[in-house]
């Protein structure tokens, strides 16, 4: 049923429909609306689940790791400093191969204290062994959360569903919330592959000395690479049932594009209007919306960008000393190709600064004028 709800509640509705059994979270703006709704669902009996109150995000992740080890579907949500505090446990979750799903609301890290949109918090967790999926609107948030459970449980790796602070989490829009029966068809009851067994006790997270550790890491890498196929199959099924598909990335008008804009999150949605407007003016603009960041869709990225003269990556994040994180990943992906497209990095929209159509047009025009891509990222929209 279509409803006007906010993006945060797109997550909550999906988690309710996914029949999650154990949740644990610590409140942090802008994640609070997600978990408030979930704790109310538990209280009102709309969910047959246990919501564990904890004193920190570190404990929240520890709690869901414990619950997931016990063999039930689990969920948590956080943002920014909360995610940073979880960092250690993120490794524990993936290393234990637990299919935990987490909503992560992209928010800046302090200081200066800032509760607004910024991608650095989630991107800084890229090496933790978590699958990362970025969303651009409320419907995608709900759909991605549902798919995340399937994906996590298929490959036995945890999934982070990432949504922009406020631009997505606090914005009301029309979201189609499916009914329980349909969701059950897509997402059956959880059957754990890694789970404690009272009859055959074993210890998890044991020491893995040099003869074993490397194999275990290789195994995680293989699992991560298996996501590509698994994701495609799951999305096919999702499309069959719900009629929506998103791809690992979404290439718009790239075949003949001169400059292709690349970005993730809500800015990509705004960029769609910019690209359409430019096309109307006869400008050969293209757009790649990054949805899957881990594993990185290298093949799809190469394919989408193969004809572009210039790739303009819009990063709402910064790896200090290098530049935008998406730009680096794309450069790395393209480095093995013969065409080796030029990649210009643009940094904008940090700490909640709006990414307006005007900003995106400005970036496009700048890229269009470039012969060569500059080594350093260009910061757009700085106050003079």
């Amino acid at each position: 049923m279509k409803k006007v709800i906010e993006g945060s509640h797109g997550v909550s509705e999906a988690v309710r429909l996914a029949n999650v059994k154990v949740m644990s979270a610590y409140p942090i703006t802008p994640q609070t609306h997600i978990v408030e709704a979930l704790s109310e669902y538990c209280e009102e009996g709309l969910m047959d689940a246990k919501f564990i109150n904890v004193e920190s995000e570190h404990s929240a992740m520890a709690a869901v790791i414990g619950a997931s080890s016990g063999g039930v579907r689990t969920f948590t949500a956080t943002s920014s400093h909360g995610l940073a505090l979880m960092h250690e446990l993120l490794h524990w979750a993936s290393g234990a191969r637990l299919p935990i799903v987490m909503a992560e609301v992209n928010r800046a890290l302090g200081p200066g204290w800032n509760i607004w949109m910024d991608q650095t918090d989630s991107l800084a967790q890229r090496d933790t062994g978590w699958i990362q999926l970025y969303c651009e609107d409320g419907q995608e948030v709900l759909d991605t959360t549902l798919m995340a459970f399937r994906l996590a449980e298929t490959v036995n790796l945890p999934v982070m569903v990432v949504l922009d602070a406020f631009f997505l989490s606090h914005t009301f829009e029309v979201i189609d919330v499916p009914d329980q029966e349909t969701v059950n068809e897509f997402l059956p009851e959880f059957k754990p592959s890694v789970c404690l067994d009272q009859d055959n006790p074993f210890a998890m997270g044991q020491m893995a000395p040099p003869p074993f550790y490397m194999e275990m890491r290789h195994n995680i890498q293989q699992a991560m690479m298996s996501v590509h196929d698994a994701y495609e199959k799951i999305e096919d099924e999702f499309d069959n049932i719900f009629g929506n598909r998103y791809g690992k990335l979404d290439a718009m008008l790239c075949e003949d594009a001169d400059v292709v804009l690349v970005m993730a999150g809500t800015a990509a949605s705004t960029a769609r209007t910019v690209v359409s407007a430019l096309r109307k003016k006869g400008v050969k603009a293209g757009l790649v919306k990054i949805r899957m960041f881990r594993p990185f869709p290298v093949a799809e990225m190469r394919e989408a960008l193969k004809n572009a003269r210039m790739v303009a990556v819009v990063d709402r994040n910064c790896s200090f000393g290098v530049g935008g994180i998406f730009a680096q990943e794309i450069r790395a992906a393209l480095s093995g190709t013969e065409s080796r497209q030029k990649v210009a990095g643009f940094i904008t929209g940090l700490g909640g600064r709006d990414v307006t159509p005007e900003i995106l047009e400005e970036i496009y025009e700048a890229a269009q004028k470039m012969e060569d891509a500059p080594d350093e990222a260009i910061w757009v929209g700085l106050n003079n």
Partner: protein, 569 residues
Amino acid sequence: MEIMVSRSSITTTGNNTGAWRFVRPVYERHTAPCSAACPAGEDIPRIEALVSEKKFKEAGEVILMENPFPSVCGRVCFHPCETACNRAGFDDAVAVNSLERFVGDLLDTSDGSLPFEAKEKNGKRIAIIGAGPGGLSAAYFLSRLGYSCEVFESEEKPGGLLRWGIPAYRLPEQVLDREIKRIESLGVKINCSTRLDSSFIETANESFDGVFVGTGLGSPIMMNIPGEELGIGWEVFLKEVKKGTQKEFKGKAVVIGGGNAAVDVARTLVRLGASVTIAYRRRIEDMPAFGSEIEIAISEGVEILELVAPVAIVQNAEQLSIELQSMKVEGQDGQRAKVVNDGDKKKSIVADRVYSAIGADVEDEWKGAKTVSRPGNRSALYNEKIPVIYGGDLVNADKSVTSAIGSGKEAAIMFDILLAEGGSKAGDEEAVKKTTAACQVGDGQSLSFEAYIGGERRNVVEGVVKFEDINLNYFEKTALKDKNSMKADLNGFDEVESGIDEVSAIYEAVRCFNCGICTDCGICSLFCPELSVLTGNEGRRIELEYCKGCGICVCECPRAAMSLVKEAE
């Protein structure tokens, strides 16, 4: 795809981490400061642990192990336990005395069911002179050791000071009767209205194997002032009231003295309808009476005139005039103020009656007790043909009911050592010292009967639990509840303090740190990194194959019930 995670079904029992150990944790019972301070040596932390678990009967039985008078002591003991309580350093002392009364009053042994079996009669007979708290306690413990006891009491009912010296509003007679009945149910024979004199000891060996003398302080201390004979002795007065020959007195009374006896007389007079003034030679804060008793007396309308010493009592028509010398403070005399005559300032007050309550002394008949050797803390041994042991107020430094009980117990243990079959010879003071030292409660004056008969308390190690030994992380500060509520009915001799209810008792017992005893809280097991704290049918124990001696359990133990000991080299 195969999922590789670091998991192991191989038991770690192959890692015998116990081999790393050079110290080992042990469960050790330590003495709580309250128990060490208790004149009867009660196992207070265990009593409170049981109360907190709602095991009131079991708690009462733990008291009975060391003290036959829980209901009496729960009312009249001056509770040094509460002064010593470690919890006082945290918020407030546990209301041990109120809890003892609560437990004692619930303990019904009227069907003769006692929580222990008396030893088989050993054929030995002990004569006990005086049925006060000391003599009755001696009879109680001796009976449990297999001795036949015969008590000789000059009054018509047993109880001694408990019956005649403590007013009913503090200790109702039926409470006393109940506890005496319990002692009699052990087979103790009490011969009332039978006064013995000291010549009895000369020939006692013909019928008895030992004699306990607990005749108390039967002789009032005189003021040695002109007109003293116009006054009334406190012990005479209180006895008359108890016997019902004194029912009403509406006049004005002056009570001379500052101890509990003076306050008891004053509060009793209030109940007879008198208006009462206490005249005391030092200041109110120097009065030896319990502070709480003084407060209640004042609240009941007793006037206290401080810094006055009586010099004469003169008949003044129908009334008496008491001449008083004013005193002033000049320095300290121990805890109390030292007072001297304030020049020749004098005053006089007029009253219908004057009561003297400045104390009591040993009757001449039994003064011999003061000069004999003292192998025990609370009893004196005078050895003739058979052991003769003096106890109670005859020998105790503090003249309290509970100390008398403690001395009766000590005497019973001494008799048992001295009369042991094939054991120590009569008069073997060394044997007495050695054995009693082994059952001393902490560093206090009391002996534990449980330890003597080989019970669990025998394993208590030396030393008393200090405040620093308690792990305060496991305790929360709590508000102090009203210990007892007061009923201010001055028209009769109903009990003034009402006691606490079950809810308050459990609340209060939960507050107890349970210093030095294991309450099975499980903290040691929770923290043990090797899971080597095991619980089973044999109780809690350490699996030494795996205990690596890290000591976390000992550090975490909330109540100092564990210690680390060095492994033998």
